[in-house]
Each structure stands twice: as structure tokens, then as C-alpha cells.
């Protein structure tokens, strides 16, 4: 029998507000343990939370970017559980009145992944095991999170992969999170079940946690799908449980601990007032939302004639697309800029993190000047590429590397002379070409380009050579 995979996602995204959700401590990642803390975020007796309104704004932005409805009235609740990383013994979250509901993200195959809800909550601290002891670091405690919960709409691992990538793109684009899975600023839990193909009944699901990359999510889902199918095929029953994914062995195993049959005793947090969002405020926020990556990508393809693959790369990181947008200003050939970014600049900006910050020695304006010269046929493509490399090495503008003699094309007479000279000094190549070896022409072409120090137009040289050889 064939089995269909059914999965849903619960994704925690750390918001990149400067301060924590209920106090003014920094949200900066890392730091000496327990240095980004105050009486409020370590839950000292008598302290009270004060909601950071920026968190509400960011959550609304996330909601709008994923087609959610924004609640006019929301509230915060206490989720009670006892664990050393949770200093108040409750997490302030939203239980039955989340800020955002009923959204979706559309996948490339046309299917919509429905978003059930997005709510705001505080992160917990973390336990550090060292020297045979357990320590607790509350730096992360109180960092704002949104939890994005989907309906069980995924039918394949590929869909899951695309969803996570898209979610990352959107959140980064609107600037609410850097979504770094390795650093834990994006964490996915996957609910997964299987059912005979064609069935419309949901099977028993398991929840997988602890996956810190998209590849791990894919691998864990594949593993868990196979495992559940095996269990059923062998006459067993899938048990509803929480599983931990182990990267090293690529397996899932049952988790014990705080998730064990917990009754969270949710109730409204009496220390916080109702969250009201006016329609005007929501519309204001909607207006400030940047163009979403998906929309931007399509525009790049249609308006600038950039290949879809390249447009995807340009829109994957907000800083890159901002760089591109600035660099193409007033140019006729945005595609050239795209080629330079992807062909040259990306080779120096390899990691995800570097692309995210996209700190490039050459400013968009400098790149713009260079491409402008190319458009005006003042220089040729080869020279432009070489110049760009030098610019990237030094951070200096293109004019530093292109002197007067480089500028301007090569006039027809000079070109003819150079071509004749190349023919004269390479009789063998000429003979080869005449004998039918098309490639032999390249040697002659190279010779001419060298003579012209790269500024001759290769197409024109080629034509002239053919003409002269006859």
C-alpha cells in the first residue's frame, strides 16, 4: 500500500526587537551568561511584565506578510510549567486569543499552506551542562518570539522544505527576524502522520523537535515517515508522542521530561492589560511593509528580464535585493548588475550570514558607475569584470583602475591594423582556421584583445578577422 505523508509546522521565530518582550534588556545573541538580565526577566518576586509594543508591531507585520487577519483584541496568558530555565514557572504566551489568525503561504506548486495562528510569547533561558553540573543562563529568557502554527497541510518533504525557506525569506524581508536556525532564532517542530493514499482520515501524529537546519527537517521527516509506515505495515500502531531528532544518527527518539502529559493550566495573565490594535494602526503597518520576496522576484523576472534562478538568489536576502535595487538606478541593463552580483560579488560573500549582512567593499553606487561605463560602451565586458575584481579587492571606485587610454572604443582603422598584425604574426592559426578549425580564430581574437588592452569589442574583432582572412 502507498502511504501519504501529512504534516503541520509549529515554528518559533525570535523577533529582532532591540529589547526583550517585557523589560528593556538587550536581545543580543550570546553574551556572558546572565548579563542580559534584570529583575523582570529573571522573574524576581514582585516584578511585573510590561509589554514591548514593538513586539506587537513585528507580530502584526509577520501576520500581514502571511495573509493573516489581525485581531482587534488580544490578550496574554500564562502557560504554567515548572522547569529551571523558566524563572517564573510560567511562560507568558497567548492561548485562545492570538494576535494573528487564518493566513496562508502559497507554494510554487500552487498549494496554500494555511496558517492557523501566529501568537507572541517569551523565550525561556537555557540550561548549560558543564563540569558535571547544570547551570542556567537567562540571557535568552524574555526574548520575544512568535509562534507560527500551520494546519496539517503538508503532503511532502519538498513542500515542507519550501515552506521553511519561504518563511525565512518573508521574515527576513520584512525585517522582523534573522531566522538563523543554527543560532536558534528559528526553531521548527513538525507534527507528522501517515495515512493510506486516498484516505481522508488523519493518522496518529508524532511531534519532532530539535532540528536545527532545513536539511535536518527534511531528513527527520523522511525518517519519521518511513518509521511510521514500517510500524503500520508490521501491524503496529503509531503512538502519539514527542520525538527528538538526532542529527548524528539520523533517527528520532522519544523525549522524556517537561513535555510529559503536561497540564499547562492556562489562564489570563492578570499583570498585563488587553492588547488593542486599531484598524488604522494595522493599515499603517501594512503600508510600511516592504515588497515581499515572492513579488519582488516576479518583478525582477518580468521587468528586468533576469532569469528566475538569478532573481531567486537576489531576493533571498533582503540586503542583497536592496543592494541590487540601488545599483540599477538609472541603468538600462539591470541584468548586467545581476550578473556581476551573482557572478563576481557572491564568490566573495559565501556564507548565509555574510549574504544576510551583505557587507561588500564596492558600494551599489560604484557598481552603478561601472555598469554605466559598460552601457555607454566606454569599456568592454572583460575589462569591466577585471575592474570589478580590483574594486572588490580595494574598495576603490572604478575610475581608479580605468585610465584615459582605456576609455573609448577602438576606432575602425586601429582595429583593422591590430587584426592584420594578429593575422600576420600567426600564420599557423590562420591556416588552421582556413582548414575548418573554427576554434583557431580564438587565438587571433585573443591577440587582438591583448593589443587593445581589452577594450576592443570582441564581436567587432571577430567580424573584422573573418573579413580579413577572407
Amino acid at each position: 500500500m502507498k502511504y501519504e505523508l501529512v504534516a503541520g509546522f509549529e515554528t518559533h521565530v525570535e523577533l529582532s526587537t532591540k529589547t526583550k518582550i517585557f523589560c528593556s534588556c538587550t536581545t543580543a545573541f550570546g553574551g556572558e551568561p546572565n548579563t542580559h538580565c534584570c529583575p523582570v526577566c529573571i522573574g524576581l518576586p514582585g516584578t511585573l511584565p510590561k509589554l514591548n509594543r514593538q513586539v506587537v508591531k513585528y507580530a502584526i507585520m509577520a501576520g500581514l506578510a502571511t495573509n493573516c487577519e489581525i485581531a482587534e483584541v488580544a490578550k496574554m496568558d500564562r502557560k504554567n510549567y515548572c522547569y529551571p530555565d523558566l524563572p517564573k514557572a510560567y511562560q507568558i504566551s497567548e492561548y485562545d486569543k492570538p494576535l494573528c489568525e487564518h493566513g496562508y503561504i502559497q507554494l510554487s506548486n500552487g498549494r496554500k499552506i494555511r496558517i492557523l495562528r501566529i501568537h507572541i510569547e517569551e523565550d525561556a533561558g537555557k540550561l548549560v551542562h558543564a563540569h558535571g553540573d547544570t547551570y542556567v543562563d537567562y540571557n535568552r529568557g524574555g526574548v520575544p518570539l512568535i509562534e507560527i502554527v500551520t494546519e496539517p497541510d503538508f503532503r511532502s518533504v519538498d513542500e515542507a522544505r519550501e515552506y521553511v525557506e519561504k518563511l525565512q525569506l518573508i521574515m527576513r524581508c520584512i525585517g522582523v527576524s534573522d531566522c538563523r536556525m543554527q543560532e536558534g532564532s528559528m526553531r521548527c517542530d513538525v507534527n507528522i502522520s501517515v495515512r493510506p493514499e486516498g484516505s481522508d482520515k488523519l493518522g496518529t501524529r508524532t511531534e519532532i523537535k530539535n532540528m536545527n537546519s532545513i536539511n535536518n527537517i527534511a531528513k527527520a521527516m523522511e525518517y519519521e515517515y518511513e518509521r511510521q509506515v514500517d510500524v503500520i505495515e508490521n501491524g503496529g500502531k503509531v503512538i502519539q508522542e514527542t520525538l527528538r531528532y538526532d542529527d548524528a544518527s539520523n533517527t528520532t527518539s522519544s523525549m522524556r521530561g517537561k513535555e510529559d502529559a503536561n497540564d499547562y493550566r492556562y489562564f489570563r495573565d492578570p499583570d498585563l492589560v488587553t492588547i488593542l490594535t486599531s484598524r488604522e494602526e494595522v493599515e499603517e503597518i501594512r503600508k510600511t511593509l516592504p515588497e515581499l520576496p515572492e513579488v519582488k522576484k516576479e518583478r525582477y523576472v518580468e521587468e528586468y528580464d533576469i532569469p528566475e534562478k538569478d532573481a531567486s538568489l537576489l531576493t533571498k536576502y533582503r540586503k542583497v535585493s536592496e543592494y541590487f535595487d540601488e545599483a540599477i538606478e538609472g541603468l538600462k541593463t539591470p541584468k548586467t548588475v545581476s550578473n556581476f552580483i551573482i557572478g563576481s560579488i557572491f564568490r566573495r560573500v559565501e556564507t548565509e550570514k555574510d549574504k544576510e549582512s551583505f557587507d561588500v567593499a564596492v558600494s551599489p553606487k560604484q557598481l552603478n558607475e561601472l555598469v554605466k561605463m559598460l552601457e555607454d560602451k566606454k569599456i568592454q565586458n572583460n575589462l569591466a569584470k577585471k575592474t570589478l575584481e580590483k574594486m572588490l579587492d580595494t574598495g576603490k571606485p572604478c575610475t581608479e583602475f580605468i585610465d584615459e587610454s582605456d576609455l573609448g572604443g577602438v576606432d575602425d582603422n586601429a582595429l583593422a591594423q591590430m587584426c592584420q598584425s594578429a593575422i600576420d604574426s600567426n600564420p599557423a592559426a590562420v591556416a588552421d582556421y582556413k582548414g575548418g578549425k573554427e576554434k583557431a580564430l580564438m587565438a587571433l581574437l585573443g591577440n587582438v584583445m591583448k593589443q587593445s588592452r581589452g577594450k576592443a569589442d570582441a564581436q567587432a574583432v571577430r567580424a573584422k578577422l573573418i573579413e580579413l582572412i577572407g
Binding site: 522573574g43 516584578t47 511585573l48 510590561k50 500564562r78 524563572p87 514557572a89 492578570p270 499583570d271
Partner: protein, 485 residues
């Protein structure tokens, strides 16, 4: 006369130095605290240091504020930076906060002299102060009787004149009931009038800090000093309106006083009689008295115990021995450490309320208890809204009886819960109420009554209370203890 004003006059006229006065209070505490058990921590050094500062100012001819140099006390659930704050629980022994409660920040800035921290029921859970880890505070009128609770220590100290005034907290009557038992004034402000920041929470939606004083005027002065908007407390709106005492209308002619019949049910005869005598005083002052029913009051007690315990069960989850306070000595692993710390660190009453609260919030019981209690809370709020369309304030007994004998309250918890019947409706509805003395029983124990106002109508109830105090001052008596000004 206002103790605070009297002290202020003595200081500014140089009749006594602040240091001498403070020392007098410290000496009287030394003499009486063995019997009263009002203080659990006397902060003599900081008190004297502060007094010297005030004296230096006076010596330089600088003007001092009304509260500057006035010796006072704080209930031990108000956070004081660097000064042990235990909530009179074993589990917080040794805990020294690293920040000040907003109310203490304000009073400290005004130059208040803190004599020490006063006794209370453990985590403010109780009606006699006897659930305190340090034993109960006794009543200055008769030390065989309790001072009441949970702010029993403050009430005992102020009643015995070993503090000029104090701050307590009132979740279900914890300021008013001990004030009533100790023959003094206790104001529970409107929920949100005073910042709760730094008040170690018992039940967050009910807790409110307020003054415990000898006179109504003092209550008004202290209330004006502590009620303010505080950005650190989202539920705090500050004092909505003017300073209370400067603007209170002592002339209560034409005011409508409401007597709610349900408040008189089950009230001891002598207590009821004192209240009715007070009604006569008010009538003689030209007020109009109207009687009406408020059936919703009947729900107040169960609603209170469900909501308070639910919130407490969550608020007290943080005491796990990991970060501060008491930690069990012998344990096997983190989980065992937490269990033992709580088993050994919490007293019986606290455990009882945590269990109750956990139960009413549990899946399957939430709707039957917590949700229903929240709905009924709305009903009670509405009943008071209606009441205030008929009258300016409600006059009611504070407690249906006078101070229990020591040991009585802890012997029967449920019966003791029932004695909160008159005080809890005010907390449920978030209203202000002031308890003032209105007579004595045959044992010479004080009887109190409370004036309940609409939200942010502190000026109304304090004005009316002040009018009564002027007309029936014989009910405001000194005890044999303390500093005689």
C-alpha cells in the same frame, strides 16, 4: 490629630531631633516587640542613618517634606533593596531584593525613616498573621488576641505606636481587617491606583498596597504620596483626581450612604450595633441613609478563594530553590531539590492554597471553577456599579467580629475563611475602601467599619471617614504601648 503632621511639626520646630525620635521608636520596639511580634526585621542602622540625614537638612535650615523623617514600617512583602524581604515564609529566608518596590522608592525619596519590616501571614495568606514563619503578631489592645491579617504586623506596630504609619497590602481584606482589629485606619485603594511593582504577589488581580495609619488624615497623606502612575506596572493607572486630603469634603450633608443588607447577615450583634450607631452619627451630620439588597455579595467568598488561589498557584511557582531564598539541604537531583525545597519551605496554609488553585485551573475543572468565578466576578462588579448609582458610598462592617484569640484562626481554616466575607467583595470589584474604628466590644477590643467607594473615589470615602473621626473621635484610642508624641 495626624501623627505625621504632629511629627513634622516637632521636627521643624526642633522640639526633637529626627535621630532622637527615631531612637525613641527603636527603643519602644525593643521593649514591646517580644510581646507584640509586630516586627520581623528591625533596620535600626538604616533608620538612624536616614534620621541623621534629615537632621542635617533641618540644621542647614532647609525645608523638609511632610513625610521626611517620619519613622514608619513596611509589610515584609514589599521589596526593599538590600533589606531581607521574606513574606514571612521560610522559602524566602535570606532573600535580599536587588531593587525597590515603587512605593518604597517613592517614600524613600520623600525621606521616610524605615524602622523595619513587619510581620504578616505567610505570602499574605491568612487572617491572623499566624501563618507567618515567625509566629503571629499580637493585638496591642490585648496580646492574647491576634492583630489580624495578613498585614497584622503593620497594624500591630501602628496600633501600638511603634511606627507612625506603615504600608500593608490588601488582597481580600489584609489591610482593613487588621486595621479593624487593632483600632486604626486602613485604606485599600482602588485597584490600579498604587503601583504593585515590588509587591511580592499573592493574587495579582486583587492585590493592592495601601496605608495603615492612626488617623484618616494620615491615610490620606500617605495615599497621596504613593498613588501615582508607574510605567513598570501595566495595571497601574495612578491617582485619578486631586490629592485626597486637600480636597476632601468633610461636610457630608446631603451625601447618600448605602447600607447593603447582605453585609449585615451573620454579623455579631455588638459589631452590628456599632455600625448602626455610626449610621446615626452620619445622619446627625446630615447624610441620607438608604438600605438595599445586593444578592451578588453572596458569591464573593467562593469567587475570591477560587481566583486568589488560582493566581497564587501560578505566582508561587517561582520558588524552587534555584535562584534565591531557602533551598533544601539534602536532595537527589534538580527535581527532588525543588520538591524538597517547597515541601520544607512553604507552610500549610500556603500549600493548601497552591493545591486549591492548581485544582481549579486544571483541565476538566477550569470551566466549573475558574471560568465560573470569573463570570461571577463580573456580576459582582456590576452589582457595585448599580449600587453607586444609588449612593455615594457603602457603609459596612469590616469584619463580622472582633480580633480572634491567638490560635483560633489556624485551628479551623474554613471558618476563618468565612470571616473574610465583608472585605473580599471590594477586592473582587477593584474598589477603594477604608476601615476606621467605630467602637469596642465588651473585652475592650476595637470594632471597625468600612466605607466603600466607587473606583478612584478615595477622596469621597476619606472625606466621609474624616467627618466621622471628627464627630466620634472617642473610638480612635491609644494603647499602653509605644511612643507618646
Amino acid at each position: 490629630m495626624s501623627q505625621i503632621k504632629k511629627i513634622h511639626d516637632m521636627l521643624t520646630s526642633k522640639e526633637i531631633s529626627c535621630k532622637e525620635l527615631t531612637q525613641k521608636y527603636l527603643d519602644e520596639i525593643e521593649k514591646s516587640n517580644g510581646e507584640l511580634n509586630a516586627y520581623v526585621n528591625v533596620t535600626a542602622d538604616t533608620a538612624v542613618a536616614q534620621a541623621e540625614k534629615v537632621d542635617a537638612k533641618i540644621a542647614k535650615g532647609e525645608t523638609i517634606g511632610l513625610l521626611e523623617g517620619v519613622p514608619m514600617t513596611l509589610k515584609d512583602n514589599l521589596s526593599t533593596k538590600g533589606i531581607e524581604t521574606t513574606c514571612c515564609s521560610k522559602i524566602l529566608t535570606g532573600y535580599k531584593p536587588i531593587y525597590n518596590a515603587t512605593v518604597w522608592d517613592k517614600l524613600e525619596n520623600e525621606g521616610a525613616v524605615l524602622l523595619g519590616k513587619t510581620n504578616m501571614d505567610e505570602f499574605a495568606m491568612g487572617s491572623s498573621s499566624e501563618t507567618s514563619y515567625f509566629g503571629g503578631a499580637t493585638n496591642p489592645f490585648n496580646t492574647k488576641h491576634c492583630a489580624g491579617g495578613s498585614s497584622g504586623g503593620v497594624a500591630s506596630a501602628v496600633g501600638a505606636d511603634i511606627a507612625a504609619y506603615g504600608l500593608g497590602s490588601d488582597t481580600g481584606g489584609s489591610i482593613r481587617q487588621p486595621a479593624s482589629f487593632c483600632g486604626i485606619v486602613g485604606l485599600k485603594p482602588t485597584y490600579g491606583a498604587v503601583s504593585r511593582y515590588g509587591l511580592i504577589a499573592y493574587a495579582s488581580s486583587l492585590d493592592q498596597i495601601g496605608p495603615v495609619t492612626k488617623t484618616v488624615e494620615d491615610a490620606s497623606i500617605v495615599y497621596d504620596a504613593i498613588s501615582d502612575y508607574d510605567p513598570k506596572d501595566s495595571t497601574c493607572q495612578g491617582r485619578k483626581g486631586d490629592l485626597t486630603f486637600d480636597t476632601v469634603n468633610n461636610d457630608i450633608k446631603g451625601m447618600k450612604i448605602g447600607i447593603v443588607r447582605e453585609y449585615l447577615d451573620g454579623v455579631r450583634d455588638d459589631v452590628k450595633e456599632s455600625l448602626l450607631n455610626a449610621v446615626k452619627v452620619y445622619e446627625s451630620l446630615g447624610a441620607e441613609v438608604i438600605y438595599f439588597d445586593m444578592p451578588a455579595i453572596k458569591f464573593a467568598l467562593p469567587v475570591y478563594y477560587i481566583i486568589a488561589c488560582a493566581e497564587a498557584s501560578s505566582n508561587l511557582g517561582r520558588y524552587d530553590g534555584i535562584r534565591y531564598g531557602f533551598k533544601a539541604e539534602h536532595y537527589n537531583g534538580t527535581h527532588d531539590m525543588m520538591c524538597r525545597t517547597r515541601s520544607e519551605g512553604f507552610g500549610d496554609e500556603v500549600k493548601r492554597r497552591i493545591l486549591l488553585g492548581t485544582y481549579v485551573l486544571s483541565a476538566g475543572y477550569y470551566d466549573a471553577y475558574y471560568k465560573k468565578a470569573q463570570n461571577l466576578r463580573g456580576t459582582i462588579v456590576k452589582a457595585f456599579d448599580d449600587a453607586f448609582t444609588k449612593c455615594d458610598f457603602v457603609l459596612a462592617p469590616t469584619v463580622p467580629m472582633t480580633a480572634f484569640e491567638m490560635g483560633h484562626a489556624t485551628s479551623d481554616p474554613v471558618e476563618t475563611y468565612l470571616t473574610d466575607i465583608c472585605t473580599v467583595p471590594v477586592n473582587i470589584a477593584g474598589l477603594p475602601a477604608v476601615s476606621i474604628p467605630c467602637g469596642f466590644d465588651d473585652k475592650g477590643l476595637p470594632i471597625g467599619m468600612q466605607l466603600i467607594g466607587n473606583k478612584f473615589k478615595e477622596a469621597t470615602i476619606l472625606g466621609a471617614a474624616n467627618a466621622y473621626e471628627k464627630a466620634a473621635g472617642e473610638n480612635f484610642k491609644d494603647t499602653k504601648w509605644g511612643v507618646k508624641l
